[in-house]
Amino acid sequence: MQLREVVDAVTEDGPPLTHSVDEIISAGRRAERRRRAGFASAGAAGLVVVAMAGSFALTSITSTTSGRSSAAGQNANATWPEAPPFTFTFTAFDAGKFRVADPIVASTAYQIAPVYQTDRITTELQPTSQEQKELFEKLPDGVTRNTTGAHHAYLTLYRPGAFNPAGLTGGTPLTVAGRQAISTSATNPPNRQLAWEYADDAWAVLTAFAYSADPSIQDMSVLVTALAPSPVVPARLPFQVGYLPSGYTPVEIGSGTYPGLNGIAAAEDGNYGGATYANPAPATTGLVRPYGDDEGLPVPSSFTIYVGPSATSNQAAQAGETRCYPHAQTPFCNVWSADGAVVVQVLSTGQLSAAEMTRIAESIEVLDVHDKSAWLPASEALAAR
């Protein structure tokens, strides 16, 4: 008897696998988000925890059963400007234990900003770099950092009419600082959301994934009064598209990151930008979550442009070359810059030929990825030349 037969003999009676590949991938995606948000959170903590210590004030929350409430918060009378898609209408701000970063993802229906919790650090990965260790170990007097449970969060600001509060199942109606709001919670994955009407028929949603009761809905409510409009600025992209297949329209972009919730998860990864086009375009009303769901799945019948550093690509750089990879579900083509430092990737959900993806990828003009002042407004960058 050989060893192979020995091992096969003792393992051939094993029960069927109870975890599917899809389940592992879904859990992996959540782990990736928590991991990245955790590291980013550590950095944010070092920046703002001193300012936040002792300044935490709760916002009034009362239960309500029906009806709309007049806005009465700190920024209740703020006038939100009319803004076209692919623009940003708020900037980074601090509120309670949260730091809301600048929005970096925009679509035809919403804009999204990463949210960091300043008094937490993920437990999934202990600090490894010296900088992280110092952040972890040196807290201001009187400040303790809760290390139990991983977390990540993001703020989605929907355009007027885009969000459908009635679509939230199992929500609890609330009034937060005089505004109509709804809280929801789920256990798999564990998360809670606070949605509130920040302007007429326009909703903001703070989504927080955490394995503990922290942050609570009460904690999250501080954003309701802290959120304020800023002058409208276009999302800017470090590339310009030259060719588009007929019928495809832009759906979502990432500025300094990739589009969608994947871009929020990868906010600190040093990617340059991206855009998703679809044919037909997904609905811009009746939404309850960003496109691609919480898992960051591809938009149906779409292709996405990714512009990023070759150093972090899974494909080895081939300076000045174009190469296509015929994966069954998500084929893609890469075009590397002449020096091999930047890679443009066009990935489709399978409906485009390699020739078509190559044509798109090779038509993209990459700008100076390190000079954001040279980047183009999305409306200009996304239209075929």
């Binding site: 050989q2 192979r4 020995v6 590949v21 592992i24 992996g28 782990a31 990245r36 494909q315």
Partner: protein, 182 residues
């Protein structure tokens, strides 16, 4: 993770999950713990996927460590099942086993379980999963010489235990096997 990377990860999981679970099971002796060890390791692998030169080695290392941790639990799952521990997790119809195949299988399992955990894992990594000595050492977290000696001792112990059960055990023509039978 970009979809292209995820597709590669999916293919990796699809092709490796079963063999990883065998590694975990042989290491810890409990199917449920083995499944958990593999699932948790693959979930941890996902965010690191594109940054690893050898994700296969990372996965094996994580699975091995998780399975070893399982054997160190004070309340190891299944330990209290004095009879069930030796019974396969899926029912076997005794009527379909007239030649005593199940009995031999249980004796083989008992012999393998009697090999020290690290030696058992070394043998499986090297001679079942086909890892090089260098890769085996990396998964076990030791140097190559230790990996070689752990493998040889594991093979020798297994050979001795199977011989006591009247089961002839032969190894591949490797230095570790020659040491095991020396």
């Amino acid at each position: 993770m970009k979809a292209a990377d995820e597709q590669a990860f999916r293919e990796f999981v699809t092709s490796q999950m079963a063999s990883l679970r065998k590694l975990a099971y042989v290491t810890c002796g409990d199917w449920h713990a083995a499944e958990d060890a593999v699932a948790n390791s693959l979930i941890k692998l996902y965010p690191r996927w594109r940054k690893l030169d050898r994700p296969d080695l990372y996965a094996k290392t994580m699975v091995y460590r998780a399975a070893v941790d399982e054997t160190r639990r004070p309340w190891r799952r299944g330990r209290e099942r004095s009879i069930g521990h030796a019974i396969p997790d899926v029912p076997i119809d005794n009527l379909s086993d007239p030649n005593g195949v199940t009995d031999e299988r249980l004796r083989i399992r008992a012999a393998l379980d009697a090999v020290p955990t690290r030696q058992r894992a070394a043998v499986v990594l090297r001679h079942y999963l086909g890892l090089s000595l260098e890769d085996t050492a990396q998964v076990l977290g030791c140097n190559v010489g230790t990996a070689k000696s752990q493998t040889s001792r594991g093979l020798a112990k297994l050979r001795e235990l199977l011989a006591a059960e009247q089961i002839n055990f032969n190894g591949d023509e490797t230095e570790e096997w020659r040491n095991a039978i020396a």
